[in-house]
Assembly symmetry: C2
Homo-oligomer: 95 residues x 2
Amino acid sequence: MIRLSVFYPSAEGATFDHDYYRDKHVPLAVKAWGLDGAEIDKGVDGPYVAAVHFKFASPDALAAAMGSPGTGDVLADVANYTSIAPVLQTSEIVE
Amino acid sequence: MIRLSVFYPSAEGATFDHDYYRDKHVPLAVKAWGLDGAEIDKGVDGPYVAAVHFKFASPDALAAAMGSPGTGDVLADVANYTSIAPVLQTSEIVE
């Protein structure tokens, strides 16, 4: 299994609409990529104001999702909830 | 639910023993804190060479775990698998 985590680093003056993220953006990504769901984090302490974790069956499944037609809409939607440039991490889930 | 994520940033010359981490360190932390388990990431692409995610029922449960007698052993064990200073993130799991 592959985890795609997207992190939003906190920064002076940065904005992040947690409600829009939960209600609109993450569901848009989940639908575009044909996933069952995702786990959303609201930062309490540490470098990130928010994060999301998506799981894919394989590196190929992740690559197929990123190349799917809906990905453009997902990326274009980022400006609707934050001024922060997201940081992406791809990992193999060891256990 | 609260997620405690621990990230290990990749750096020139840094070392990380993924086998020791999976087989010894994370089980030590899980036992010390009375958890059911944890999710371990092995970095494929992005800023982190490894990460782990622990779930706690509440902020109080997290604080109690951090203050428990076993936490000292967990922290002292870090030098056995990596030269990297871990980065901690605490988050509320939104969904």
